[in-house]
Symmetry: D2
Subunit: 137 residues, 4 copies
């Protein structure tokens, strides 16, 4: 299982009155990281939707270990844990500039078509998604 | 020009590290207030989109006079300033529990169809939108 | 374990290009529901923070069963599953207008003080939080 | 007046059911661009807040000329139009990959201190902010 590393800088709008990044923002970061994971393997999620496949989120979980504050640069390591035509599972590890673990989580996705019926991604696409990248290209 | 009054309670997720509601949240509140304004006049924005008319935002401005903090209950008075088939202008006044002015703003909208071409709302709908409600039903 | 019921109407800003409410919005709704749960039991989360106690989110999970679209009115039933001085666990069920289950989830919280050190809520407050309300006042 | 150029890729969470980036997201992008503008001139907004100066937003306006969709890479050119100790005005131009103008806007800011009273930035900081960068370092 190959990993893709994505960097995100905490935006002011993502913080809350506790002075830290709001927990809902991690799901947005996971989405950014997931899109990046796919793009690096030659799969544009935008093109996937244009072609009629949609990845619906069916489950998310996040464990928050340490706070992130405005302007922190965090690193998200994304792994595609399961990849079948009908569903995908991604996992994420968020670390800080000193390498410490800040948060980790997982998202589950179902493939549907334009009519919102269950669908299957073709092998040509799931093969690309599972491509083992030598390094973080 | 009749007014519709909508109440919104500031959510924690809408605050930022300054401990106040983030300025982008006002645009979301205006949208809530605008939808409410239309609903009270018998126009469901959801039905409008289903029928093939979309209100695109072409301009927004907000002047922020005093901070709103988490859990504040604010009142938004919405007025439909201009209503033509091809475009609408709404204005908003946000006041606090003691009646003081917190913010005010304006949004401009263009009517488009599903193909994102300029379109026109029928008179039956713009008439409803301009309905003068005796009180805040 | 008593339940509090909170209603939320899906905002346009909460939807995404799939035409449904974005999954991160459920965490914001849970927060609204949690604040409401506490308020109904005489605990203002704002006052809690003013008094120096902060509830930090340490874990969230959401299972999404059916899509919510713009303007849907959803019902959130909130239960305080665990309530100790140092930590809380809430669970949530989101249902639609016809009573069908749309999503469910859980959030875990740690109590900290202003210096972000672990702290304990006094019994007077945890007792209130666990108050069994006869009906949904 | 020197310009700083910042690139932002439209996130899925920033889109709405119209399939385009929600108008409130532009304010978040402006904030990212403004922070970047300051950082390039050696002014960390985070450090500014730590030192006790806060930039409160007092006015925003955005004119939206063309839609941005998910995954679009947009360019934001930021200019510091006015820079006095007590207040700042920034303007922004958002362009697409082919150079076409997508949106433009302006934000006004007041300087306040921790007690939320009007304050003044020292010359050493406003001088840096107005630094003319030869190119987009």
């Amino acid at each position: 299982m190959s990993t893709t590393t994505t960097q995100v800088r905490a935006r002011y709008a993502e913080t809350d009155a506790q002075g830290i990044v709001h927990h809902a923002s991690y799901l947005v970061w996971f989405e950014v990281a997931r899109t990046d994971f796919l793009r690096r393997r030659g799969v544009s999620y935008r093109d996937l939707e244009s072609a009629g496949w949609f990845l619906v989120v069916t489950h998310v979980d996040v464990t928050l270990r340490a706070a992130v504050v405005f302007d922190d640069l965090v690193t998200i390591d994304t792994v595609l844990e399961k990849c079948r035509g009908r569903g995908l599972v991604f996992s994420y590890r968020v670390t800080g500039e000193n390498g410490c673990l800040l948060a980790e989580g997982r998202t589950r996705h179902l493939v549907i078509d334009k009519a919102r019926r269950p669908a299957s991604l073709p092998r040509s696409i799931t093969d690309k998604m599972q491509m083992d990248l030598a390094d973080n290209e």
